[in-house]
Symmetry: C2
Subunit: 361 residues, 2 copies
Amino acid sequence: MSQANLPLAPGSAIGILGGGQLGRMLALAAARLGFDVVVLERQADSPAGRTAARLIVADYADEAALAELASLTGLVTYEFENVPAASVAWLAEHGVEVAPGPRALAVAQDRFEEKSFLNAHGAPTVAFAPARTPQEAQQALAAIGVPALMKTRREGYDGKGQRWVEHAADAAAAFEALGGVPVIVEAAAEFVRELSVIAARGRDGATAVYPLAENHHEGGVLRRSIAPARVSQALTDQAERIAARVLAGLDYVGVIGIELFEMADGRLLVNEIAPRVHNTGHWTQDGCEVDQFEQHIRAVAGWPLGPTHAIAHVEMLNLLGEEADAWAKYAAEPETRIHLYGKRLAKPGRKMGHVNRVRPL
Amino acid sequence: MSQANLPLAPGSAIGILGGGQLGRMLALAAARLGFDVVVLERQADSPAGRTAARLIVADYADEAALAELASLTGLVTYEFENVPAASVAWLAEHGVEVAPGPRALAVAQDRFEEKSFLNAHGAPTVAFAPARTPQEAQQALAAIGVPALMKTRREGYDGKGQRWVEHAADAAAAFEALGGVPVIVEAAAEFVRELSVIAARGRDGATAVYPLAENHHEGGVLRRSIAPARVSQALTDQAERIAARVLAGLDYVGVIGIELFEMADGRLLVNEIAPRVHNTGHWTQDGCEVDQFEQHIRAVAGWPLGPTHAIAHVEMLNLLGEEADAWAKYAAEPETRIHLYGKRLAKPGRKMGHVNRVRPL
């Protein structure tokens, strides 16, 4: 069993749970810093697996696979928040440092815990109420009012596992339609803009915050980010205060993505937090000296954090499904930097890559 | 047998001969563009092998290995100029596109061919003469004068395979000391500065040239580059003219490194050319929007070339041997970007990594 000697020296191995595009871009950043990457992923052929020094193909809950991972590296991180808590606990019990830690995972895996944590730490959200039965769903809806957004407490991403409820009478039906699992009912946020802030916290407690991004979603999926967003200093201060509270409240290590609603009255509400590198932070690859991927590796490895100021304006466009077939068009644009994930199948809506259109500050 | 369909679509595989740091940085750039990388390398554990989707461990001349490579990819490039010509010919005969092509390799593998090619294409060099026997060595030295630099025509890098001859009477002894192999005798270049230019040529014949770098060597090994170098427009024009002639003369595809001597009278002489990405181009990773590694992949894949203008001043420092142990110092410098190669053994003088110290233009 290896144990992480922090700060982790180049040449050491870092484990990544998850083989998707975020894992791939983390692996590329880690390799640049001289680390070896070990990916644990269910699929034999995956975006991150193809860039890793070692690949373990297994379920995240497979103890033999976790033991193999622990034999190869003393430090593990992950690319998505639905890593089984039991796997993280198993690794920790076997001397492996996992970052971000179990508290961040627990909070991020349950939307009720998440909003409760946020409010308790001075990070405002919309009003919300939990429900475990059709009756509770009706009560929650009565308390929150309509229209409201009903979401499963666990799982779900990119707009999956949620539905709008327009009439109080539809509460029980919506609850059943979401599978009869525990849900959270959220008040509709009448936001004027969706923003996000990508922040990092090192093992020494130092924090670094990137400029805000302005985000545009379609059907629950991010289409486009513009960064640095045009925001007042007051809004930036508010976002940085929220980031500081969230990072400290979770005793966090790594990069976090915090999605924000900008309200008409100038307040920021937290929509959700993701304890990992984040799609709305992809602009940092071409807009900052140290991008969110290297920053995350630096943080979990116990290195000092890097600079986060913008060196360019960036418009980040996600390439969904067959949109990635237009790679030749983007390759011909001098201002466009291309990031493709090597996914084999361009299913509709699937994130195949992104481009950063860069222009001088 | 696969055949390259150019421009090569993302998701395709690209082969790289050689598993060192240049192969590693090429592999990372290719992965960013969505390609799979197949590395052919003699060592089972290598810097590039650990970042590739597939690794074939074999000698470059191993036909079974070349056949495996050809079954996986229709497009192959290389990270160093001493790839056996026979291997490249074998791949070409079996339908694999190899870039840069055999002419560039042949010229770069033989210092006499190289200088002859350069002079024939209007790219000036120091005076030189070939020798195959001790007698010819004496004659060459008599023609060139002393001091002169005697170099083996083939092999040799980073100052290896060469020696200064101070007295005409030492010609035969120097010839024997270099192994009795064919040599070239070069006049001493009384240069005021060492510069280099990194250039690229696409499959459509389009070219792109990066700003010049100023280079400082110690014991034949590059220590430090500063880019963009402070040079007059006339010097830049001269370098770009040389690059254009060399690229066209070789019908080149890919990135080339051209080392230059700046003479007291303002002329540029070509010291040597390297048909590959080049140590003096590492500054482009943090000083340009598209670095030499992505540029090379773009060129060989038949993509349009990317922009080459500088977006920052960069001082590139090679980390040799144990100097890489100072990674923590460099990690703490906000202006310093770190690139480490994952080499296991820090032998004295071995290139373990480099740092780019960046400052705004």
